[in-house]
Amino acid sequence: MMREVMSSYGTSSALYPGVSTESLALLPRVFKTTVLGESFMSQSSSFFSRIKSWVGIAAAVAMAFMGAGAPEVHAQAKPAGTVKVGVLHSLSGTMAISETVLKDVALMAFEEINAKGGVMGMKIEPVVVDPASNWPLFAEKARQLITQDKVAVVFGCWTSVSRKSVLPVFEELNSLLFYPVQYEGEEISRNVFYTGAAPNQQAIPAVEYLMSKEGGAAKRWVLLGTDYVYPRTTNKILRAFLKSKGVADKDIDEKYTPFGHSDYQTIVADVKKFSAGGKTAVISTINGDSNVPFYKELGNQGLKATDVPVVAFSVGEEELRGVDTKPLVGHLAAWNYFMSIKAPANDEFTKKWAAYAKAKNIAGHKDKPLTNDPMEATYIGIYMWKQAVEKAKTFDVAKVSAAMAGQTFTAPSGIVSKMDEKNHHLHKAVFIGEVKADGQFNVVWKTKGPVKAQPWSPFIAGNDKKKDEPALMAEKAPEKKK
């Protein structure tokens, strides 16, 4: 019992700012005196402070008990009628260009759900935090959302490095994250649902398309990315895939630039040089605002899509907003959704977004509303979570997770998207689009129907032995509640 008080002491001071910190600071000393027999009385100067400190201890002990019980009840122990939900996207820094709009679309979905009576009759109360494109800060903010705000679920992250940063937090505190962006795979966590694409739902089909006659029959490949885990892993998979198709190492050129890199002169010149050796395609995994100078440089240096097509995995309608797209016509992007897709569900989605952006006066979108793939994935994730909660009839993480299996939702991309029964990934249709002069995409290729995700890519050695589902609860039960 004593250990319990000790261990939760740290969190209780953070959790209950109302309690005098002075009295809490005395707490360890109390235990020191009992354990070591050292007198602490001599150190307190007055009777009143002694009283105060005992009151403080009592309060802290009482709260520590409440705190210790928290992980189990945190979702339900809310004032009746609302449930808190976290939104963890960078609203400043290099990733703000991509992530800000995901925050907005999440808020739109919450508003919609609330207008229709909420989740199980409870209104959603969003808690928005800004991890500022700072990866360790993601983990801190995630911890804050879960322990302090006691959110039932978090929607967030864009870069894989931010997801890797928060993953241990979600697993330790046994909370739920919905991750809405395409990524490199190589991960299944029972605490995460991945509503973006795995490599076989985006990267591999895109490369296959470029290899085909219709896609230009590329023979040489430049793999260009920002220097972090997603591009590195994706390129590792692509390299293995290309090799399996008989592409030699000398026909693959891998290049990385730091986050926020803004001078793409050399890179574009190198691509030109490399492309003289045969039909070349560029696979871009550049992330964040670096894309703007990259595409500007491509346009200015006159690298045409008919000569060297660039297919991007992290560039959508939103990232191209600030770029003059006329010189970029024909460059490609592979996604599971484009704004230009003709489907009733998409019409509804884009109309709702336009109205919402106008009503909320969202910068940029109020005049020119754009939707993109991660926005769609965020939207699907939120609705699937709602459906799962209503099926499980609780916010409990394990039960909601179980109820997520097999959930379906009519996605704006025009298909019925299904959450896989086991592997926590969505079944998604793949689209390849070419940039048009107005910054929208022309779909030039698509899969016949939804494709099941392979988070463990068969092109990485040793993956064939890995299970296509998260480890069981019992194996990885949290240590915390001992």
């Binding site: 002169q265 050399t266 492309s275 003289a276 045969g278 100078p293 008919t306 907003r321 600030g322």
Partner: protein, 526 residues
Amino acid sequence: MRRTLFAVLLIFAAWANPASALDRAAVDKLAFGDGEEKIEAIAALVAEGDPKAVLVLGALLEGELQTSGKRVLIIKGTEATDALTGVSVTPVPAEREDILVNNRLRGTLNGALAALKLISPERTVRLAAAKELEGSADAAMLPLVKKALDKESDPAIKPLLEQIAATLEIKSGTKESRLAAIRTLEQSSNAGAKTLLLAVLEGEKDEDIRLAVEKSLLAIEGRLAWGQRAGLMFAGVSLGSILLLAALGLAITYGLMGVINMAHGELMMIGAYGTFVVQNLFRAHFPGAFDWYLLFAVPAAFAVSAVVGMLLERSVIRWLYGRPLETLLATWGISLMLIQAVRTIFGAQNVQVENPAFMSGGIAVLSNVVLPWNRIVIILFAVAVLALVWLLLTRTRLGLFVRGVTQNRAMASCVGVPTARVDTWSFGLGSGIAGLAGCALSQIGNVGPDLGQSYIVDSFMVVVLGGVGQLAGTVFAAMGLGVFNKILEAWSGAVLAKIAILVFIIVFIQKRPQGMFAVKGRTVET
């Protein structure tokens, strides 16, 4: 450009004789066929050299060819004409579908249009077409190219056409004609020729041809390598000019005045936002003169940063002269406040600053080197700013005072120089130049509240490397770092290049703490 091109096409189409291969079957294939059928139809049209096809193919390329039921229409704004008959269609059908054009089709269309233009009566059109086809022609165009070659007499176009014909015959034909074609290609400095020769080399058994190809390849590669080197130098100079602009203001505030101004980057950021505001004003009030907004943005950026800098100097920095550590901390604090202030006013997201039209695109100096206009303009701008600063420091009274105060403050004060006021003015000047740098940066990179953060380290690096207190040193250091960085980048990649530069500077400063150019005399010790 496109518009004039199209006008030329129209004249040309009107001139063409009406004998036509553009029949219903061909148009239907273009409009409703799959990718393969479309390509076949285009190839057939090119082989027959039907000039009337230019209109339809041009419309297809521009996305103006649309279908309405079974009809194929060319839509221009609000007017529609039938693609087959050329008769105008009224009313314009409301239900229309775009015809999908992908990269492969677009490439074929570009080539086809260029090939059809080879027989245009206009010399400039033919020259442009021949240049476009160099390195991208395909076998279907051979009859047309030969026909054009027969008629051609212009000394500039004829050799180009010969080269194009050579590339087309390089894979077929007799051994002699192939060897001749390979030898013709030797004169090319087009990267496309290299691609072509490499393709010939692959799977070629004939020893003579292999040798000829290898020889031609060597010659072409040698020429291409010069282009690459020139491109690399340009990239280095371009980066150097940006570093110079970023560091020039600092060379005054830190180099001459000795103020470690950590808010220097934020003054650049303010200049960039100044440009953004001017751009928005122009867009809202004078959309017609939008291309000239930079003319007003430059003084505005200078003014706003200079005013902020002078306020800073008057309110904070002047109390801290001679206390570098306190100055550093205070200006760093101010930089954070400025960032937050901009976030509050403009939002945390990047804002968009558009290039004026004349700064988009580039000029092709060699077949494989395109120099982007925005970078050329910035290099010229940097030179102009440098010249102005130099004139100001050496030819004006203020410059004399600044140098006097820098060299010996007490003595300058004794002979009647108002040192405090000179400090304010020169700090304002340094800040204003930072604003100019921000204005230039807005044309090539992102404008956001964090813009300054990524340049502050580079700016200090340049000033320290060049030698504190010397403008010439700043120029050499900026250009040197720019070129060195680009050479390293081409060799080792962007990430390693950045690391290597930092290591190099650490070592250099260890060996030569006074920088490349040191001020001789007593001022160094102070």
